[in-house]
């Protein structure tokens, strides 16, 4: 494998184990420094914005820290808000490894939530494990089918997946509204059309000892699982080869359509699961409250994480924290709700800009 040759050279050059470790740390730093720098620059820019609004940036940041991570309540609040973002982030990040830009996670989340709410109706009275299991399966299948369809359109019919996934999200939301306000509506839900309540026994509940629902565990497990799949498996290697050069991948005998559709299904399944968590851990039914924009926020998360499954975890928690602190900023400083959106916007643009420094920044000694 050609890719290993430079590393082999590096290994030969490093005379002792210590310098090898140093090399690795520097290499890691080269990867992370642009991101850290971007965060610092964003905070400085947002600080200027806050100062223009007549507040002390330091006081605002202190309050944001208190609202996001400063107390046990705040930390749990941030984790709770991060949970859906981990799953919807995967919906964009996984296909991105094959070079696809999928932005329709919202659609997968919505049809996933709908499927979860719908499948619970005929299962009333069954053991909770069966109901919850079926809801998870239904949500993942529905979400997977939704984004998988965008992937299939891409590889089989040449339709741009960015557009098709977005349009499929609109279709998903329309179907969702139609079914929730029509055939699947609980007749008792007069002024807020919803599917019937799934029942107390079938609610997911919180993680033991935490005030955070099971969605967080699902998100973390999914991110670790996808990391192993994409970085340490033959499937993931093949997927990344497709992302690098689809023609070369096809010429070397990889089944590109299959890889694309499967990866899209997997991403959609993650977002669908996020919809199921909203239904089974929070609302107890599918209704318009599911349309909270988690799917779109997931796009931001995936790009900030460089489409790396493990990178999604800290990014989701960071964004969860920013969202968690937004309310406190409003109440303490009278800053508009849009203030945290400004910070997110700045962060997104600066971080994407900083990606151009990725791989160009060199801390390691130049090799001959």
């Amino acid at each position: 494998m050609t890719a290993s040759a430079p590393i082999g050279a590096e290994l030969g050059a490093g005379s002792s184990r210590r310098s090898l470790l140093g090399e690795r740390a520097l290499g890691w730093l080269e990867e992370v420094l642009p991101t850290l720098g971007a965060i610092v620059v964003s905070l400085a820019l947002f600080g200027a914005f806050v100062a223009l609004a007549g507040h002390s940036p330091l006081a605002v940041y202190a309050e944001m820290y208190r609202g996001a991570f400063g107390t046990w309540f705040s930390l749990q609040n941030s984790l709770l808000r991060a949970a859906p973002l981990m799953l919807t982030g995967l919906c964009t990040a996984l296909p991105a490894r094959l070079g696809l830009i999928v932005i329709g996670g919202e659609g997968a989340l919505v049809v996933g939530g709908l499927a979860a709410g719908a499948v619970a109706i005929p299962l009333q009275g069954s053991p909770p494990a069966l109901v919850i299991g079926s809801m998870m399966l239904a949500a993942m299948l529905a979400g997977g089918a939704w984004v998988g369809a965008a992937g299939a359109l891409r590889v089989l019919r040449g339709v741009n997946e960015t557009i098709s996934s977005l349009l499929l999200a609109y279709i998903g939301i329309a179907i969702f509204n139609h079914l929730v306000e029509g055939p699947l509506r609980d007749p008792a839900s007069l002024n807020k059309p919803s599917t019937p309540y799934i029942g107390d026994a079938n609610m997911l509940g919180n993680l033991p000892g935490l005030d955070v629902h099971w969605g967080l565990a699902f998100g973390i497990i999914a991110c670790f699982g996808c990391h192993v799949l994409m970085e340490h498996s033959v499937f993931g290697f093949a997927a990344r080869v497709v992302g690098g050069n689809p023609r070369a991948a096809r010429l070397s005998g990889l089944n590109v359509p299959r890889l694309v559709i499967l990866t899209c299904c997997l991403g959609g399944a993650a977002a669908g699961l996020a919809g199921m968590v909203e239904v089974a851990a929070i609302h107890g039914k599918a209704n318009a409250s599911l349309l909270a924009g988690y799917g779109y926020a997931g796009i931001l998360v995936a790009f900030l994480a460089g489409h790396n499954a493990l990178g999604i975890l800290p990014v989701a928690i960071l964004l969860g924290g920013i969202n968690a602190s937004g309310g406190l900023l409003q109440r303490t400083f009278g800053l508009p709700d849009a203030a945290v959106n400004v910070l997110q916007g700045i962060l997104f643009v600066v971080l994407l800009g900083s990606q151009t420094y990725r791989g160009r920044l060199r801390l390691r000694a130049a090799r001959a």
Binding site: M1, A3, S4, P6, I7, A9, G27, W28, E31, V32, T35, R66, G67, T71, W72, F73, L75, N77, L80, R81, A96, R97, G99, N177, E181, L190, N191, K192, P193, H213, E231, F237, R240, G243, G244, E278, I282, H283, G284, N287, A288, S289, A292, G293, G306, H307, N308, L310, G311, N323, A324, G327, L328, R331, P336, D337, Q355, R358, G359, R360
Partner: protein, 405 residues
């Protein structure tokens, strides 16, 4: 060669580990696990520190909250939306005039766990003892969950959803019969229109909305039997682009008075003004947006309810779990008439208003037919304002052009 390789790697390049497949994965995986464990340990420590900190703080905090009453308001949209949220924010503003009351507000809070956390944050970080989470969708499950968790905090919700025996004791619900104000606005519209075509832009075909459409139509028909009202459902509470399109479409079809039931009537009233049509408002007053064409509007008067509730809670007096009222109780009101409303129209509208306030005028009375020809109420039958049947409304009255599905 090596640098070239690094620089040309795909944008999907990983964040924590370079994507060179030949590297051994294991050590890094263990590193990751160790970091995760360390984080968990740190969290545990924070938890301990936190619990001791709160234990130490509790007496001080409760002593402090004994003096001023902190009241928290949560809005689903913007406080300045010229609509639903502004109406509540105006009520909240009136509270700041009361002695010993501190108001904390948060806007644009979606109907997800976000609102639960906002309520908890107001309770834990601001010391709020009374909360007004104002959006209809906040009630179930969000307010119910928080009310069970914080039994010494009072939660008052707009929507009239409280059921005795089913819901926690620290929860209350209030609502206004705003269809009375819509009926009066309908009479103004019916007398002002020249084309005899009215337009109504509504969010969803749910009972509350249908009741407003029907009351408005019946008000217009009571003074002008030639009137028809076209309704367009946009599908959601806040879709400004669709609302503007609907407004233009209704005006193109000949409607010359527009009204609405969406969270913010702003773009509808503005579009009507720009196109030279009249409008009547909803939720709050939109008169400032349309000085020429704004006729009147059905407004909430939350100031009254909020002042009553807060005074009672502050004095420790019992408060009603379910509060409802209309023009008589002062819970709803009408925007002052615009300059386009003639003296004769004002007189007839004031008569309707007086009749509704006195209870002599009933909006839903027979003979009443739906616009699909179904008989709703036979001649001689009537449904008074408090009739629970009205809250299950699933029809549009004769005179309305539009359908529920």
């Amino acid at each position: 060669m090596n640098h070239l390789h690094a620089a040309s790697s795909s944008p999907g390049r990983p964040f924590l580990s370079p994507c060179v497949p030949a590297r051994r994965p294991r050590p890094r995986l263990f590193q990751g696990l160790l970091v995760a464990l360390a984080c968990l340990g740190a969290c545990k420590q924070t938890e301990k520190a936190e619990s001791t900190a709160t234990a130490a703080l509790t007496p001080a905090a409760s002593a402090a909250s004994a003096a001023p009453l902190t009241v928290g308001f949560v809005y689903v949209g913007s406080r300045g939306d010229y609509g639903y949220n502004q109406a509540h924010a105006e009520g909240a503003k009136a509270l700041t005039a009361l002695p010993g009351v501190k108001v904390r507000e948060e806007e644009n809070v979606p109907e997800t766990v976000a609102v639960q956390k906002t309520m908890e944050s107001m309770i834990n970080l601001d010391g709020a003892k009374l909360l007004f989470p104002t959006s209809f969708g906040y009630f179930d499950p969000h307010i119910l969950t928080m009310a069970a968790k914080y039994p010494d905090v009072t939660f008052l919700h707009c929507g009239g959803l409280y059921t005795e025996g089913k819901h926690p004791k620290n929860v209350g619900s209030y609502f206004g019969y705003i269809d009375e104000a819509q009926y009066v606005a309908g009479t103004v519209a019916g007398l002002t229109t020249k084309s005899n075509k009215l337009g109504f832009i509504a969010a969803k075909p749910i009972p509350q909305v249908l009741r407003n459409i029907n009351a408005y139509t019946l008000g217009a028909l009571s003074v002008n039997p030639a009137v028809t009202l076209s309704v367009i459902f946009t599908g959601d509470w806040s879709l400004p682009v669709k609302e503007a399109e609907a407004a233009n479409s209704l005006i193109d079809q000949g409607a010359d008075v527009l009204t609405s039931h969406v969270d913010s009537p702003k773009v509808i009233v503005e579009t009507a003004e720009r196109r030279g049509a009249f409008s009547t408002g909803y939720h709050a007053s939109q008169a400032a947006l349309a000085p020429k064409g704004y006729l009147t509007g059905a407004e909430w008067n939350w100031e009254k309810i909020y002042t009553d509730y807060v005074t009672k809670v502050k004095e420790g007096k019992p408060w009603d779990h379910l509060v409802r009222g209309g023009l008589k109780e002062g819970y709803v009101k009408l925007s002052p008439y615009g300059e386009a409303v003639s003296a004769d129209t004002r007189k007839k509208a004031d008569e309707a208003k007086a009749g509704l306030a006195a209870g002599t005028l009933v909006i839903f009375k027979g003979p009443l037919q739906s616009n699909t020809g179904k008989e709703i109420l036979a001649a001689g039958m009537s449904r008074g304002q408090t009739d629970i049947e009205l809250e299950k409304m699933d029809y549009l009255v004769k005179g309305v052009k539009g359908s529920l599905n």
